[in-house]
Amino acid sequence: MSVAAHSVERARPEITGEIDKAGYVLVAFFAIPFFLFNILPVLFGFYVAFTRWSIVGAPKWEGLNNFTRAFNDHWVAVAFKNILFYGVIIVPSVTVLGLVFALFVNKRYPLSGLARTLFFAPTVVSATVIGLVWVWLLDTQFGLVNHYLSFFGIDDVPWLTSTRWSLVGVSIASIWWDLGLAFVLFLAALQDIPGEINDAAIVDGANRWQRFRYVILPHLRPVISMVVTLQLISTLRIFSQVYVMTNGGPAGSSSSPIHYIYSIAIVRNLFGYASAIAILLFALILAVTFAQRFLLKERA
């Protein structure tokens, strides 16, 4: 994404002159653990996906069985359908709120430094903190959220304990957790906009909305696309909040692919099948990444 785009610009010229053998040594310390623990397992996973394998015993080659099984598995369908809903709720919320908050902080109002800290703070704590705090806030009977909603005449909402609301409950916590990253990326992009452009627009008599629409927004287009993709990918990988808040329940209503992979592998000890579902998820993530790259190129 942005990382890749950056580095292409700065790629160094071709190698000329003497070769530094020491370079290989310096790289090796990083590259060896990287290949052993980050790349090799992915390749190994492609093999495991075609086998039946529990933690004890030897793998048994099964061909495409795990994949056909996945396509017929009701719970796989539920998990993938759930991330669609998570995506629909979380991605636009994080993008829009992140941008609005960044616009506010960027204006350098009094106390905007404090506001910046507060908006970013939830992003630095662990999923366990996010999960437990929101389980408490969203408690049906005693939670703060329902307490204040009751002032508006809204009856107790079973946020995490009903099949109808569990996706929304987990999404609320996720938005609070994920917003900081989008916020900071937007803020960095806003601060890159040269002040003169904005000043010129003011001199030309552009109002707030016009300046946003014709000056700021075009500048932000690449960042918006990046935030949407990053958030989409992190939503596809949603796990820890689900695990902590609802453990996928009630009745699988808040489960996600990774949560299902986790329970298949750990609870039911089916490592081959779990790997096959992981590969399906991987394919989906790659598709999203390439779609984003393709769309970005089209525009540019």
């Binding site: 990382v3 580095s7 700065r10 790629a11 160094r12 190698i15 530094d20 020491a22 370079g23 290989y24 310096l26 790289v27 310390f29 990083f30 590259a31 052993l36 623990f37 790349i39 397992p41 992915v42 495991v48 394998w53 506010f104 109002y109 009094p110 404090l114 800290t117 507060l118 970013f120 703070a121 939830p122 630095v124 662990s126 999923a127 366990t128 903190v129 437990l132 705090v133 389980v135 408490w136 806030l137 005693f142 900071v184 990326l185 803020l187 960095a188 990053l230 990988r237 695990y243 902590v244 609802t246 453990n247 009630p250 990774i258 986790y262 490592f271 992981a278 998820l281 993530i285 990444t289």
Partner: protein, 287 residues
């Protein structure tokens, strides 16, 4: 509110800002309230927690919840977390600096390909490698060990990336002078380049430490023994949702546990905010 009007005046704000400013600040405060509620609940008596009366400041304060938390092996979990995060950060930042330097400033065939592979790996979600990695660690007999917690965390490409960017813009005069004096490539890196790379080292350390301190999925999978759990994994069992998992204690104890868990990350963030934000905007790195 005269000071405010004056300040708004100086910042070239108009009357719309008088509407936007209070709303924005209110939302920012609202954003932090879950943390306030967390801390407040952690000091309450359990009887004052499950009630319809909302007390933002507890009327009666107790430390019992914190004492209860320490009846579980949280100190052990904390030590595990600390060892894991510190070791992984140290190795990842040191090796990342070495690799970043070599990729930016040294001539060798395969250099650009290697960097391309590093970057391409960002598209592979860790979750894909997690199950086979677990199988491998179990087969080798390394499940529930520090090796298992630390080794996979070394390969974080963000560290290489941030150092490579830094060394690309590094002035070559110092290197040339040292070369004249007969310094070899390792001396050049360890004595000249590395000591000058403090800024990227801090930014990378802060981000990678926090990622490791908070990491969840891998430690959850790989630690079978209670004594090898990390803090986030151990504390996760305090979830008091009835019907999903066993309810250990009430909300007040759970909030004491997460307060303890969130202190290191929040403190680090408050003191080193600049590096967090610098790190994030250098590249997108949330694992």
């Amino acid at each position: 509110m005269r000071w405010l009007e004056r300040e708004l005046e100086e910042r070239r704000l108009n009357r719309w800002d008088f509407v936007i400013w209070p709303i924005g600040i209110a939302v920012a405060v609202l954003w932090a309230l879950p943390f306030v509620w967390m801390v407040s609940t952690s000091f309450k008596f359990p009887a004052d927690v499950m009630t319809q009366d909302i007390e933002w400041l507890p009327s009666r304060v107790t430390l019992d919840n914190y004492i209860k938390v320490f009846e579980y092996p949280v100190i052990r979990w904390g030590i595990n977390s600390l060892i894991q995060a510190a070791a992984a950060t140290f190795l990842c930042v040191l090796f990342g600096a070495m690799a970043g330097y070599a990729l930016a400033r040294m001539n060798f065939p395969g250099r650009n390909l290697l960097f391309a592979v590093f970057l391409a790996s960002l598209m592979i979600p860790v979750e894909v490698s997690v199950i086979p990695l677990l199988l491998a660690f179990v087969k080798v007999g390394w499940a529930s060990s520090y090796q298992a917690l630390i080794l996979p965390a070394i390969g974080n490409v963000f560290s290489v990336y941030i150092f490579r960017q830094f060394f690309l813009n590094f002035p070559s005069e110092l290197e040339d002078a040292a070369k004249m004096d007969g310094a070899g490539p390792f001396n050049l890196f360890f004595r000249i380049a590395l000591p000058l790379a403090r800024a990227p080292a801090i930014a990378a350390s802060v981000i990678i430490f926090t990622l490791n301190w908070n990491s969840f999925l891998w430690p959850l999978l790989v630690t079978f023994d209670e004594s090898m759990k990390t803090l986030p994994v151990g504390v996760a069992a305090f979830t008091p949702v009835v019907g999903t998992r066993t309810q250990i204690e009430g909300y007040s104890v759970a909030m004491a546990a997460v307060t303890i868990l969130s202190i290191p990350s929040l403190m680090l963030f408050c003191f080193l905010q600049r590096y967090f934000i610098q790190g994030i905007s250098q590249g997108s790195i949330k694992q």
